[in-house]
């Protein structure tokens, strides 16, 4: 029971909150079985408890209530209000989903299309009353960086979709034909059927061109650009390498007019390139896998 609901409470208050939580859990179990069963299996109780905890925490956050509100508010009203908070979150997530469905270049990724299709079913299958912590859909498409794994249920899905929309915002800045050429170059096995993230190769190519001050629109590197990249990045100091990439990320974010999330995403992507850059430099500086020269 160690969680956000009992944090910052005295020992006595924490115990009282825990007892109230059990009372609410018993009520939820009764609602779940429609009063037809005095017992439920442990797995179900665990899921009901997680759902209850997440809903209450979200409600307290939304209303800026302290954890001790668990003791002062009417239990039935509390359950209804917490459920209302989850339902509002579902509505907001549906709006983000509608934006995500307008993502460009979906035809370039089967897993993205299938994932968006499956998420469509989430809004029918999701149960905010009892299973707020579940994500009843299949999410196969790989984002450039994973969503916070401590998030659950609709909160996880919303963060996932927001990250997807953030990645899409960068892709929209480029000519689709150039994006397709980049994807084909870095994944010759066929990016459309594989679990390939669309954002990362494009962001990497754009970062490379920012480093070499090449023309951004084509996403195309040159032999001269490769030589420049090698000269720039071949340093025994990993911290210097990190700084070079970070500064390029910041310049690129300004140039592409990315928002705060888009900038953070681009900087994370730049940092993620460091091990690959190190490996390329060690093996003879063939940049084709990261900063490709397009045919």
């Amino acid at each position: 029971m160690d969680n956000g609901l009992t944090m910052s409470l005295t020992g006595e208050e924490a115990l009282a909150c825990q007892a109230r939580l059990w009372q609410l859990l018993a009520r939820q179990a009764e609602r779940y079985t429609m009063g037809e069963s005095t017992s439920v299996c442990q797995e179900t109780v665990q899921v009901l408890l997680t759902s209850l905890r997440l809903s209450l925490e979200a409600y307290f956050r939304e209303q800026e209530l302290p954890p001790r509100a668990l003791l002062t508010e009417d239990p039935e009203q509390l359950l209804r209000a917490a459920e209302g908070t989850v339902r509002r979150q579902v509505r907001r997530t549906r709006l983000v989903y509608q934006r995500a469905c307008r993502c460009v270049l979906q035809e370039e990724s089967l897993s993205l299309r299938e994932t968006l299709d499956s998420i469509g079913g989430f809004f029918q299958a999701y149960d905010p009353r009892f299973f707020a912590g579940e994500v009843p859909c299949d999410i196969d498409y790989q984002l450039s960086r994973p969503v916070d794994e401590s998030l659950r249920g609709v909160w996880y899905l919303r963060a996932w979709l927001e990250q997807l929309v953030t990645e899409d915002a960068l892709l929209r800045r480029f000519d689709p034909a150039a994006v397709r050429r980049i994807l084909a170059a870095v994944c010759p096995e066929g990016h459309r059927e594989l679990l390939v993230n669309l954002y990362e190769p494009v962001a990497a190519a754009a970062l490379g061109l920012t480093l070499t001050e090449g023309p951004l629109g084509s996403l195309n590197q040159t032999q001269a650009g490769w030589a420049r990249l090698t000269a720039l990045l071949e340093t025994p100091d990993p911290e210097k390498q990190r700084r070079i990439l970070e500064q390029a990320g910041e310049r690129l974010a300004v140039r592409l007019e990315l928002g705060q999330q888009g900038t953070a995403c681009l900087l994370a992507c730049a940092q993620g390139l460091l091990p690959r850059i190190g490996a390329v430099l060690e093996s003879g500086a063939d940049w084709q896998g990261i900063f490709p020269i397009l045919d």
């Binding site: 029971m1 059990w22 859990l25 018993a26 179990a29 009764e30 779940y32 079985t33 037809e36 069963s37 005095t38 017992s39 439920v40 299996c41 442990q42 797995e43 179900t44 109780v45 665990q46």
Partner: protein, 144 residues
């Protein structure tokens, strides 16, 4: 988590419910001593642990007792043992049937099976719920 869940099973609630039951059924000669109530409460906790279930409140024993109390095959001298075996059977069958099958549907079947076995609860323990229902020609669960 398991320990937390187990703590929900409150022995005091069970004993209180059983004592109230004993008062209601005294006229039928169905009495429970304090020790028997305690043993039943402990048996309930064991059965819940064994079947991986969590129960809120006083539990199913009062309803089980009401279900079996007027069976012509019930021997008042075996009342405590019958309840003990009955609750074990109930929780195993409940676990097998799933949370969505109402208690009263299982209790109704348990009573039918008890009468079918002429009060030999131990005989029923040899069967899974599915086997016994097939053997007794039961149809799908009725929820009323």
């Amino acid at each position: 988590m398991k320990e937390e869940l187990a703590s929900i099973v409150r022995r005091g609630d069970t004993i209180q419910a059983l004592e109230a039951l004993g008062r209601r059924k005294a006229s039928l000669g169905l009495r429970l001593t304090r020790e028997e109530c305690l043993a039943l409460a402990e048996g309930r906790e064991r059965a819940l642990t064994d079947t991986g279930r969590v129960e809120f409140g006083g539990g199913v024993l009062p309803a089980l007792a009401e279900t079996l109390a007027d069976s012509p095959y019930l021997d008042p001298a075996d009342w405590a043992d019958t309840l003990m075996e009955g609750q074990l059977l109930f929780y195993h069958w409940k676990a097998e049937a799933g949370d969505r099958v109402p208690d009263r549907a299982i209790l109704r079947f348990l009573r039918k099976a008890f009468d079918h076995a002429r009060g030999a609860m131990a005989y029923l323990e040899g069967f899974s719920l599915k086997e016994l229902r097939e053997r007794m020609g039961e149809e799908a669960w009725t929820m009323d």
